[in-house]
Structures are given as structure tokens and as C-alpha cells.
Symmetry: C2
Subunit: 377 residues, 2 copies
């Protein structure tokens, strides 16, 4: 159940009740692909850095260790020891980006595993079955994320199929939630809006899926090659056609600037691998732009990554020490940078929520955009 507490322009301050606790929105979900955030970050760390929702990848967990194994051990929450909300993607994006030799049919997608090459089939029912086995809080619909430069004809046909797949996802989840041996009988489903950069296709699709009264709605297929201006324009024209009383999730986005712009347009949920991936490469976020800790200039810099930051890295270690760890190939260097970056993102979301609560989001956004210079792209 989504509650809309306050609005400033199109920016929304809300809360989303789930069986695993209430999510305060806008929220940034922290990506733990294989049931763990890369960079030696544990679920205990997630509590420390203020994570509300963990996001796991259905495709990865299906391939290894296997969703049936996770179900037999009591579900993903128990497996990874995380009691708060988990969102699982549908596996569709990985099928389209990672797997080899894929063939799209009405029933679903045939493809080769990126690990052992074996032939796998995944359709709407299979994706939902896997997500039900994992027992996540929120399941995502199985969709096709069409290439951003696909032809209008291709996109129209793809979106129509994605709508048919969405109905099959909804029906399958309804069935599984009613079974006795299900891990999470309250599992929720978010539908996904597609249509690349064709505004009219996006709008028609948004209207069509809104009729299905799902638990939430995502905007997918963005940040995959189009410009940021195009992405913001699609949000501007599409979001008014999604239900006001349901959360809206902008998938796979993005930089701090992208998130501020997304919130300003009415987005409630975000996720992105940037903070963890950048952290593993020694790139850390601050309110004066991103730093590359491999740079020589930090060799003798005994300041924390950011003065006043409350993350475990800044509370105890200097730029000079973390740079040394990164140069020496010590895993601890990556871990500290990832912890800092995720904290930075989570903290920014807290600031955003406070700003909307206080009616000063527009001002906050302007100040933060100027602070995170270089992240505007």
C-alpha cells in the first residue's frame, strides 16, 4: 500500500508498506546481484549505511545457486540474512544483455547461459516462478527491453508482447501467492512501461498497464543509450499517465543528477550499479564532485573522502590510506569505497525526503546539482 504524504511540484514524498517493513520514498535500492553487494559488503553493513531495499538479480540467482535451492532453504531473505524489503528484477534485462544466442518468441525467450552455455527458456511464468521461489518482497514483470535505436515497427510489436506477458505474469503470481508452500504469499508485482523514445508508444503503454491495477509501475528501457535529455522528456510525457496512488520506479538509473531530475519528475524508486561499480574502481562521490583515489594527488591526503561524512570509511580512514590499499590491490580498499558510495547515495535520498517534507526540494535540488558537478553529464 502506497501513501502519498506530500508533493512539491511533481516531486513526491511517500511511504510504501510491505510485508517486510515500510519503505520511505523516494528511495535508492542497493544492488546485490548474486545475493550480496559486490565489494565484500554484508547485510550487516547495509544496516549501517542506511539501506532500505536490497535488489537481487533473478537471472544470476536462477543460474547459481538456483532458485529451487534457495526456496528449499527458506527463501532469499533467510538465505542472505536480510529481513527488510528485497526487489527482484525479472531476469529479462540480463537475458537480453548477458546471455548468448537468444530467440524471442510469443511464449518467451530461448537463450544460452552465460556461465555454462546450456540452453535455457524463460517466459513470464518461468520468471515469476523463480521470483516466487526466491520470495522477494517485490517481483518485476518479465518484459522485453528493446534496443534504444530499434525501429518503430519493432518497438510497437515488442511493447504489445510485453503487455501480453505482463498479464501472464500477474495471473501466474496470483496463482503462486495462493499456494500453501509459497515463501511469501504477499509478494507484489510491478509492471514495466516500455517504448524506447517513442513518446506516443510510451503513453499508450502506460495507459494500458495502468488498467491492470498492479502494486507499482516501473519505467524501463531508459539509460540504455539515449541522451539524458531524451530520458527526461520521456519521463515528462509518460509519468502523468501512470496511476498517482502507486509507486513509480525508474529502472537502472543513475547518477546523482539523474536521480534528482527523476525525483523532480515524480519518480519514487531508483536502482543503479554506479555507486558499487565506481567504488570498486576507486571512484568516490563527494559534494564537490567525484574523486579518483588512484590519483597521485591523494598520496599524502590524510583527510577522509568527505569531511563530516558518517560512513564507516570516512569515520576511520584517510584518502591516503585508502589510495594505498587500492594501489596494493587490497580488497579492503574496494570495500571502503563501496561503503562510502552507497552511504552517499542513501544519504542523498534522506536529504531529498527531508527536502520534500520541508517544502524546499527545488532549492535542495539546485544546490545538490551544483555540488555534484561533473555528474550532470
Amino acid at each position: 500500500m502506497f501513501h502519498l504524504h506530500k508533493q512539491e511540484g511533481r516531486a513526491r514524498r511517500g511511504s510504501f508498506e510491505t510485508v517486510h517493513g515500510t519503505i520511505q520514498t523516494p528511495v535508492f535500492m542497493n544492488v546485490g546481484t548474486a545475493g550480496a553487494i559486490k565489494g565484500a559488503v554484508s547485510t550487516m553493513d547495509l544496516e549501517t549505511i542506511g539501506t532500505q531495499v536490497e535488489l537481487s538479480n533473478t537471472y544470476h540467482l536462477h543460474v547459481r545457486p538456483g532458485d529451487e535451492l534457495i526456496k528449499s532453504l527458506g527463501g532469499l531473505h533467510k538465505f542472505m540474512n536480510w529481513s527488510r524489503p528485497i526487489l527482484t528484477d525479472s531476469g529479462g534485462f540480463q537475458v537480453f544483455s548477458l546471455a548468448g544466442l537468444r530467440k524471442i518468441k510469443e511464449e518467451g525467450v530461448y537463450f544460452n547461459s552465460h556461465i555454462d552455455g546450456r540452453r535455457i527458456f524463460m517466459g513470464p511464468e518461468e520468471s515469476i516462478q523463480i521470483q516466487s521461489n526466491l520470495g522477494s518482497t517485490i517481483a518485476m514483470a518479465f518484459d522485453e527491453c528493446a534496443p534504444h535505436d530499434a525501429s518503430r515497427d519493432y518497438v510497437e510489436a515488442s511493447v504489445a508482447r510485453t503487455t501480453r506477458w505482463l498479464i501472464r505474469c500477474r495471473d501466474k503470481l496470483r496463482e503462486l501467492n495462493g499456494r500453501e508452500d509459497t515463501i511469501n504469499p504477499h509478494q507484489m508485482l510491478f509492471g514495466i512501461n516500455q517504448g524506447t523514445t517513442f513518446a506516443d508508444i510510451r503513453i499508450e503503454h502506460a495507459k494500458r498497464i495502468s488498467e491492470l491495477d498492479l502494486d507499482g509501475y516501473a519505467v524501463g528501457g531508459l539509460a540504455v543509450g539515449e541522451t539524458h535529455a531524451q530520458m527526461y522528456e520521456i519521463l515528462d510525457v509518460t509519468l502523468p499517465h501512470l496511476p498517482e496512488n502507486k509507486p513509480r520506479y525508474l529502472m537502472g538509473v543513475g547518477t546523482p543528477a539523474n536521480i534528482l531530475e527523476g525525483v523532480a519528475r515524480g519518480i519514487d524508486f531508483f536502482d543503479c550499479v554506479y555507486p558499487s561499480r565506481n567504488g570498486r574502481h576507486g571512484h568516490v562521490y563527494t559534494n564537490s564532485g567525484k574523486l579518483n583515489l588512484f590519483n597521485k594527488q591523494y598520496e599524502r591526503d590524510m583527510r577522509p573522502i568527505e569531511e563530516g561524512c558518517g560512513c564507516p570509511a570516512c569515520q576511520s580512514y584517510s584518502r591516503a590510506y585508502i589510495r594505498h590499499l587500492l594501489k596494493a590491490g587490497e580488497m579492503l580498499g574496494m570495500r571502503l569505497c563501496v561503503l562510502h558510495n552507497l552511504y552517499f547515495y542513501n544519504q542523498m535520498m534522506t536529504e531529498i525526503r527531508d527536502a520534500i517534507d520541508g517544502g524546499c526540494f527545488a532549492e535542495y535540488k539546485k544546490r545538490k546539482l551544483s555540488a555534484v558537478q561533473g555528474e550532470l553529464c
Copy 2:
């Protein structure tokens, strides 16, 4: 200052006062080669897992990031944010095991850096200068660790040179401790007994270095290829010739069984890379032997690594989850195994101290040796 509180047979229960706090002995030092324990373990973690002394490698820190840099930033304690005792080795062992094209002369050793191949010279004065720059609590003398199968003639000459080097180390440290800009003016020096498996050379050398009234004495050059029986025999004959009122450190040793046997023979300090190296390979210690978490049998095992263990891994995660992380190449898997193994070692040392305090070390040793089966070699 070393205080001997209690003895049971030759096993000793003591405490060693340092400028960075008191060390309860027997103690196992946790090895953080490049100023960090491998496996993404931070100094905050070390407090959690009960570490008393961190051991850093002089050679590694000299090569990268450089001891002068660390001195200019306030010393190693400040650099890595660890306020408790640090022992630095002399760099000698690494020079003899890692570096290329080495040439041993009376003044010291010429060798090539294992990182960039550049020609480096290290003698007693250089080693002590580096350790003084790092500002460790305890510096180790620069010695030659002769091959375990070296001829008697070679070993005699080598040990004599090591004694001359030791005097130069002592004199150099005395000078540096007196300087105004020194990081730790109370830096202590441990001498190192050598002699491979020649009992009479070991004994003569022990007597000779005991005259120097150093802060402590190490037995070096063991666990480098000789049998465990030979190692124990050397301890049996050598230790009676080291001063009773100084701590004794068995370098680079070893398995839990080696440590129990070392304590029984009067050793107070130990260090070894086994727990962290084994952890990174998914091999974890328990009181029913070592487990290889990569094994299929742990796939569905929801028990912690060891029931009742207080380490961060066992408090929150199952064998099945950690196995999944290891198989998926997630750094978190290594981190959890390393934390468990170091905790296991530190906890064993607590048990050993309690047993000597309680006068039941012999009984404890027998029970633990039988528990850590497979670690006896």
C-alpha cells in the same frame, strides 16, 4: 616490560607492557602484510575479532607506499588507524624469499624489488631505519634465514653474521629512538635466534644473543621445510637458553597444533598467514577439523561454520550462503571466512591463557589437539 604471571610445565602465562597497551600472552599476532589484513578486513574488524597485535611487513611497506611517506603522515598506527601494538618484521625473510638476484655481503643484502625490479640494498641499519619510520611497537632484528638444508659451514658463518647484524640493529635503534623527530621513541627490539636444525649452533647463538639484554627474543628459520618433530626438538633444546624474563616469539608458526605444542614448550608470541590465506580459499577452522566450504556437502547446510562461535560470520550467515558467495566469486565470501578463521585463532589463544591461568593447560591441550584433527600433520 614482560611479567610472568604463571607457569604450567614450561607453558607461560604473561603480559607484555608496551607504549601501545599491554599484550596478554600467549598471543597470536594477525598478519596484515601491506598495512591491512587480506580479505577486506579493517582495523575496526580487528577489534571485533579480538586481535591484540597487528603484524606488518617492513619490506612490503618500504616498497609501497614507502616508509618515508608513512613517517611523514605520522607513522603506521595513524596511517592504518590502529592504536594497539604493531610488530614489524625486519624485511629479511621477504628479501630472502621474494626478491630476485640477491647478493649477501657483510654490510647487508643487495636484491631486486619484486615489484619493479629496481636494485635495492638492505642491511641492519636500513631495516631499522625503515621500521623506525613506520614507528611500530616492536621492531625485529635484520637477520639471515638460512635454507633449512644448508651445510653446517654455511649456517655457522650465517649465524655469526646475524649476530654482528643484531648488534648493529641494536645500536641503530638506540640512536633513532633518541632523535627528536622519531615516531615512537619507545620502539622495542627483538633479536632472532637462527641455526636451522643444528642444535649446538642454535644453543650457542641463543646464549650469545641473550647477553644483549634485548626486549624480546624470537626463534626464526623454523617451519621452512624441516619436519614438525625437528621443529619441536629445536624448541626443546633452544628455549632453556633464552632469558626467562623476556617474551619468546616463534616466527611464522603455524597450525593450531603447532601453536599448542609451541605454548607447551614456552613460546609466548606467534604469527602465521594460515588463517587468512586458508580463509581466502574457503578453508575454515572448527573444533571438529577444517572444512572446505567449496565442497558440495555444504550446499544446503544452513548451520553456521561452527555452532556457538561468536565471530561475525557465524553470528549471521550459514555455510550454504558462504559457499554460494565463494562459488560466485563474491569478495564477501572470502571476508567472512577470514574473519571466522582469525577469530578462531584469537579465541584459541584466549582459551590457552585461561587454561594456564586455571592450571589445566595440559588437559586443554590434549582436548584441543584431538578436536582440531587433521591439523596435526
